[in-house]
């Protein structure tokens, strides 16, 4: 299990080996008895050049994980970016939990209901979570929310239930353009490791020092933090077109975006 969907179709044999390795990582396979068991460190590399903004991943995640209405574990932000002297460009940005190596959401949890697994996923024990939402505040990526059906914190798990069965996360499985790639960052042979070696990659909000495990190829720096643009949504209090930031540039007249 180490590829995107196209790779999966093209390299069945390799995927099977990957699946066995992941079982060994979970300590469930006798294969590992011979040498030191390799524990994978799951990560994702999103190749923005390939994302077509179809939201198939958004829908797949909702179906797979029973995400309630009005919430997302992953979605694709879409921007129109107009640079000085250039033509307007559509830019897609799939967003999800970064399964940070230094996750600010974990230390704040008063009851230790959220934690990082050995394999890198940051997860919530929703039988323990008191629903205080402190972690929702602490995540710099707005990747968490309160699930009003369980009344506990909810977020992407990298589809832990699927990866433990040797499957790819639903969003990766369904990605039409092959933009989402998932695999073991600790395995130098893995496709994601190769992509990290061969491409210039960046992460969202590097200034937060969260050490994300979701990497992007082709991410424009103007989109890597809070995007200073005209919003798709305007709450009732704010009727005027607005931008944040001191000295923000004047906004265009057209408001029918």
């Amino acid at each position: 299990m180490d590829t995107n969907r196209r790779g999966f179709l093209g390299a069945m044999g390799r995927v099977t080996i990957g699946a066995a390795a992941s079982m060994a990582g979970a300590g469930q396979s006798a294969q590992a008895a011979t040498d030191k068991p390799h524990i994978p460190h799951w990560g994702m590399v999103v190749d923005l050049r390939k994302c077509i903004g179809c939201q198939a991943c958004t829908v797949a995640c909702i179906m797979e994980n029973d995400v309630p209405e009005d919430s997302f574990r992953t979605h694709v932000s879409v921007y129109e970016v107009l640079k000085e002297g250039g033509d307007p460009a559509m830019v897609m940005l799939p967003r999800l939990c970064n399964h940070c190596d230094d996750p600010p959401c974990v230390p704040v949890c008063p009851v230790e209901a959220t934690f990082k697994l050995e394999t890198g996923e940051v997860v919530v024990d929703n039988t323990k979570c008191v629903g205080c939402a402190y972690c929702v505040q602490a995540c710099p990526y707005d990747a968490r929310f309160i699930n009003h059906e369980t009344q506990t914190a909810d977020k992407c798990t990298f589809c832990f239930h699927r990866t433990s069965a040797g499957l790819l996360p639903a969003c990766v499985e369904t990605c039409v353009g092959g933009a989402r790639n998932f695999g073991d960052l600790d395995d130098p042979e893995s496709e994601v490791s190769r992509m990290l070696r061969e491409n210039e990659v960046s992460v969202l909000r590097p200034e937060m020092h969260t050490n994300p495990n979701v990497y992007y190829i082709g991410l424009d720096a103007v989109l890597d933090g809070r995007v200073a643009g005209e919003a798709a949504y305007r709450p009732p209090l704010t009727t005027e077109p607005q931008a944040h930031g001191l000295g923000a540039e004047p906004q265009p007249q057209g408001e029918d975006a």
Binding site: G53, D70, F72, H75, S77, V78, Y79, E80, L82, R95, P104, P107, V108, C109, P110, V111, K128, C129, V130, G131, C132, A133, Y134, Q137, A138, C139, P140, Y141, D142, F145, I146, Q151, T152, L204, R205, M208, G225, R226, V227, A228, G229, E230, A231, A232, Y233, R234, P235, P236, L237, T238, E240, Q242, A243, H244, G245, L246, E249, Q251, P252, A257
Partner: protein
């Protein structure tokens, strides 16, 4: 460069108006308790009238606050887990220990302060004397007022520290992550507590001298708030503190935030001037504006802060509560507080409260009934 967000997710506020109520009430309680100590624990007779009102505020808001906090949990039935799985890296986990200790100590302190009065009522022959005999636990001695008061004062400081730190450490919200925030919470807490004491003074005491004293203290607290606010802006605009600059930049471009800043400045300046110019006639007005200022500050910080997207563009809805549901927390907690206030003023001989005479254990109430 121009950027239009065409598709983006909107995030609702995860901390509801209940949280605003909690932080408002607990700050009023802790600061009021500190103002009750000189008169009631340290024996400064001149400070007694103020201390009695302060203790009333501390007890009534202090009991209401944790109920608002519990209501802000989405799984309130699991609150016991706070004590079972305390995560020592979480300020909220520490708060779970501080808050009940604090509430227990202020109730014990208030009981000790009022014990002689309760005992005296139990000795009179009237219908409910049995209740007061029971409330005084059959005795009038209250030599333990001072240690209880000092312990409650220490707990109040812990509450102020933890409530400030809990919000301040959230780096993901620039508006919260400024070192000034804990100080601003404390200073506006004093403003709100003095405002409430002024209003209660107008309703229950009507002593111009006390009104003037409270108004002067309020002016001092408002002065501190103004200085902190001005320093916040100066640090942000000058760029001396990148955190402050980031906080300001996160909201500066939005007209609604400019209006909020103006509103805040006016609600500090107006009571400040009134309290200084006419301290013994303006209690109602300065008191109400002060309460409003302390509450608005928290609403703005919590709901306004949550309206600022972390990665998206524009603003989210949180600034305005969504219908009656959002306001229920506000209305409900004020209702409960009012009930407690009526109970306090009805059942507790609060006008007689005083510090125990030094060294001696009074056999009789310190003042006659």
């Amino acid at each position: 460069m121009q950027i239009h967000e065409l598709v983006g997710a909107v995030h609702e506020a995860a901390w509801l108006p209940w949280a605003v109520q909690y932080f408002f009430l607990i700050a009023l309680s802790a600061t009021a308790l500190l103002m009750a100590l000189p008169g009631l624990a340290l024996g400064r007779v001149a400070a007694l009238p103020r201390a009695r009102l302060a203790l009333m505020v501390a007890v009534t808001t202090g009991i209401t606050a944790p109920i608002a906090l519990l209501a802000d949990l989405h799984q309130p039935g699991r609150f016991w887990e706070f004590f079972l799985y305390t995560n020592s890296s979480s300020w909220m986990a520490w708060g779970a220990w501080f808050v009940p200790s604090y509430v227990g100590l202020i109730v014990a302190f208030a009981w000790a302060v009022h014990r002689p009065g309760l005992y005296a009522l139990g000795q009179e022959s009237w219908r409910f004397n049995w209740l007061f005999r029971w409330l005084s636990l059959g005795g009038a001695s209250n030599g333990f007022v001072r240690p209880l008061g000092i312990a409650a004062g220490a707990a109040a400081l812990l509450v102020l520290i933890y409530t400030g730190a809990e919000v301040y450490v959230v780096r993901a919200r620039p508006l919260w992550n400024t070192p000034f925030l804990p100080l601003q919470f404390a200073a506006t807490g004093f403003v709100g507590a003095l405002g409430l004491m002024l209003v209660l003074e107008r309703v229950l005491c009507r002593e111009p001298a006390l009104e003037a004293r409270l108004n002067r203290a309020l002016a001092l607290a408002l002065g501190v708030v103004a200085v902190l606010g001005a320093a916040w802006f100066a640090l942000a605009l000058s760029g001396l503190s990148p955190r402050h600059s980031e906080a300001l930049a996160s909201v500066a471009g939005f007209p609604v935030w400019q209006k909020i800043a103006l509103w805040g400045a006016v609600s500090v300046a107006v009571p400040f001037v009134l309290a200084l110019v006419s301290p013994s006639r303006t209690g109602w007005v300065t008191g109400l504006i002060a309460i409003h200022a302390a509450w608005m500050f928290r609403w703005t910080v919590f709901m306004g802060g949550q309206a600022v997207p972390k990665v998206g563009s524009g603003l989210y809805d949180a600034l305005l509560p969504a219908g009656l549901d959002g306001l229920m927390g506000v209305i409900g907690t004020f209702g409960l507080w009012l009930f407690l206030l009526i109970a306090y003023t009805t059942f507790i001989p609060w006008t007689e409260a005083s510090a125990p005479a030094d060294g001696a254990v009074p056999a009789r109430p310190a003042t006659s009934h």
